[in-house]
């Protein structure tokens, strides 16, 4: 395909990279409310607007509930719309998240994943996004700052695809990615704008073609409305692939629904979301050096769940370990674990599997933790079973 342009490499934190991506996307309306660790995203965006580098309406709402409501109104009016939040902020938005997807509003939101209160904690885990898991949004996860940047740009392409028209969240681990400086390759403004040109929202509010948005539907029709949401969100993988392919042409970076690592002959497979995927990969390389057949799978798309890809990947695994940075209290395990269990069962795959709850409230998951965990997996394979189904990894008991 076309020859790659000269690569521009700069150093940015995850928050700054997301803000830069939103700026290059020429967003029209930004509405947000400050919350750690996303605040830098909107600080940067407000500065871009104040300096005239971005022609957008920057609205600091009086709450996250209003921020997402402003975005929803703006998206229906035909604006390219961006917001970001975390933790309690995402929880406060919850009601409107459901409405935004069902009203087919292509909002893009960055989520700086952070623990939920109580106790109050500002550090990373995935409780916030897992609580918003079933809201009908497309949820993407970044493993590093480069991906946070890339996925933010791709998110607009995916959200606004006329075949989809759904809101998309880009998840980046609070502090671990939001506040870490990494060198990353950024695209030119022209490339970004030719990748995601402004296309009119087909159902935008227009007096000359009046529509009613958010009507009342009783038992005789409500189910058909919800069925439409079901039918559209399952198109997201296809739309993602399309967006990814054209993105690779301007960036040289190709994303898939899942990111496999050392999977060819892997007997032990570890699955995770977010920055931990990088840690696991690093340690997996080390274990491969010791001839341990271990592989890692990161999920770039978490909703809709890439069931087929996961099933294909796990078909021949001897042992599966799921890393959950959140828990479903009173449930059968962590949220990713229950997704994987269902996938295995539905696809007739029987294998050893355990759930590892880790890193809640920002507890470090260090290389040594990963090594210890991998050693545990190796031992469990030797005896042919796990001694527990759910481990709280690194918790003081």
């Amino acid at each position: 395909m076309s020859e790659l342009k000269q690569v521009r490499k700069i150093a940015l934190t995850g928050d700054e990279a997301v803000a830069y991506a939103a700026k290059q996307a020429d967003v029209d309306v930004i509405a947000a409310y400050p919350i750690t660790p996303q605040t830098i995203i909107v600080e940067r965006l407000s500065k871009y607007v104040a300096d005239g580098e971005l022609n957008a309406a920057f609205i600091q709402a009086e709450s996250e509930h209003s921020a997402i409501s402003i975005c929803l109104g703006a998206a229906l009016a035909g604006a390219r719309t961006f917001t970001s939040t975390a933790s309690q902020g995402l929880a406060l938005m919850h009601e409107v998240l459901h409405i935004a997807s069902s009203m087919r509003a292509p909002i893009v939101m960055a989520i700086a994943n952070r623990a939920l209160n109580s106790p109050l904690n500002i550090h990373c885990d995935h409780s916030d996004i897992m609580n918003a898991r079933d809201t009908g949004w497309v949820h993407l996860f970044a493993n590093n700052v480069q991906q946070a940047y890339d996925l933010t740009i791709m998110a607009f392409k995916i959200a606004e695809d006329p075949e989809l028209l759904l809101p998309v969240s880009v998840n980046l681990d609070g502090f671990i990615l939001t506040h870490s400086v990494e060198p990353l390759e950024v695209l030119s403004d022209e490339d970004v704008q030719s990748y995601i040109p402004h296309i009119p929202y087909p159902y935008r509010i227009d007096f000359d073609r009046p529509l009613a948005y958010g009507v009342m539907a009783l038992p005789d029709t409500y189910m058909e409305f919800r069925r439409q949401l079901y039918e559209v969100i399952i198109k997201a993988p296809k739309v993602f692939r399309k967006a990814s392919e054209s993105f690779s042409k301007i960036s040289g970076r190709l994303y898939n629904l899942i990111a496999p690592y050392f999977l060819e002959d892997a007997e032990i497979i570890v699955l995770a979301l977010g920055s931990t995927v990088e840690t696991l990969r690093y340690v997996a390389r080390k274990f491969r050096g010791r001839n341990v057949k271990i592989g890692v799978v990161g999920l770039t798309m978490y909703r809709p769940f890439p069931e087929k890809e996961i099933a294909d990947t796990l078909a021949n695994a001897k042992c599966v370990a799921v890393m959950d940075r959140a828990y479903s209290y009173g449930g059968v395990g962590g949220p990713l674990y229950t997704d994987i269990l269902s996938t295995l069962y539905k696809n007739g795959i029987r294998t050893m599997i355990a759930d590892f709850i880790y890193g809640l409230g920002g507890r470090d998951f260090k290389l040594t933790d990963a090594e210890e965990l991998f050693s545990k997996l190796v031992k469990s394979v030797e005896v042919g079973r796990f001694d527990q189904d759910i481990y709280w990894w690194g918790v003081r008991e």
């Binding site: 009016a77 604006a79 958010g214 009342m216 009783l218």
Partner: protein, 315 residues
């Protein structure tokens, strides 16, 4: 004297077009439905209505029918002012970027959606200075869910959650001074209106739309089921609310208060109360003190407005 600005001098000046279509599912004698019909008479250019959850919303949008002949948006109960903020700012920036055309934005919510659950979003929107008109239709309780008390329910009124009991005779608390709260944001225009005075109301809606900034209209809309009176009496009761000084008709432009309908010889408050079932218990001898409190509130409020008008200030 009625509102200062007269866009429509007589009822003949009011456009024949109805952007609020007949055939909705609001009750016979519903005050809110009249307020909607009248407000829509005043639109002046491409307009969008943003509607909070409530009586008007559920009764005008039951799929597959809709009563609005213009774009109409409903999102939720408490965020109407926020949704409207997003729409107007989107239109503004899209016009600037030559990708869209301006519309007027009218947010409409009931008293529950404004006095109570939507107050924060309203305050945020007023502070941010968006160009929008917010109309609160006030039927003084959560009528859509079956007549529960709200921050707009007057002292003494019986609702299903402030019943006229043997020990507690109706709502004990005072109605919020909503217009005071709104005016405290120093917005350019705020007004009250009554469906019994349609020209005043329509002129106020148009006046508000002409202003480049946040504007607010609080319109009293009697509710036949909740206030418990026959459907034929809606306009009469709305008029009595004004003529007893129960609901003063005012406007506050750039902080200056003007009483639009000077009620020099008020009718006794009892005339407004006795025709409504929700106040019936106030006429029992043991509840006389509640009636007195309500009367005092009405008198106090009127005198306060007179003084504010005299000194030329509201907030």
């Amino acid at each position: 004297m009625e509102s200062a600005q007269k866009y429509f001098k007589t009822i003949r000046d009011v456009p024949i077009e109805d952007y609020f279509a007949p055939g909705h599912r609001l009750c016979a004698g519903c005050g809110a439905s009249l307020a909607m019909k009248l407000a829509m008479k005043a639109i002046r250019m491409p307009t969008v209505v943003v509607n909070a959850t409530g009586c008007v919303e559920v009764s005008t949008s039951l799929f597959p029918y809709v009563s609005w002949r213009l774009p109409w948006v409903h999102v939720a109960f408490e965020n109407t002012a926020a949704v409207a903020s997003g729409i107007i700012e989107a239109f503004r920036i899209l016009e600037k970027k030559e990708r869209g055309k301006m519309h007027d934005v009218i947010a409409i919510a009931g008293d529950g959606g404004t006095f109570d659950i939507g107050l924060q979003a309203l305050s945020g929107a007023l502070e941010r200075n968006h160009k929008m008109l917010y109309i609160c239709y006030d039927n003084e309780a959560y009528m859509n869910t079956g007549i529960q008390r709200s921050g707009a329910t007057p002292t003494g009124a019986a609702t299903t959650t402030s019943p006229a009991g043997k020990v507690i005779p109706g709502k004990q608390e005072r109605k919020k001074d909503l217009i005071g709260i709104v005016v405290a944001h120093r917005i350019p225009y705020a007004a009250t209106a009554s469906i019994s005075h349609p020209l005043d109301f329509i002129n106020k809606v148009r006046r508000a739309l002409e202003i480049d900034g946040p504007t607010f209209i609080h319109v009293l809309t009697p509710c036949t089921l909740g206030w418990r009176y026959p459907p034929s009496q809606t306009i009469k009761i709305a008029r009595l609310a004004v003529e007893t000084r129960y609901f003063p008709i005012i406007e506050v432009e750039n902080g200056k208060v003007r009483i639009n309908i000077k009620v020099t010889k008020p009718r006794p408050l009892e005339e407004f109360l006795e025709v409504q079932g929700r106040f019936r218990h106030l006429f029992e001898p043991e509840n006389k003190h509640i009636l007195e409190i309500l009367k005092q509130q009405v008198e106090e409020n009127w005198n306060r407005l007179l003084k504010l008008e005299e000194i030329g200030l509201y907030a």
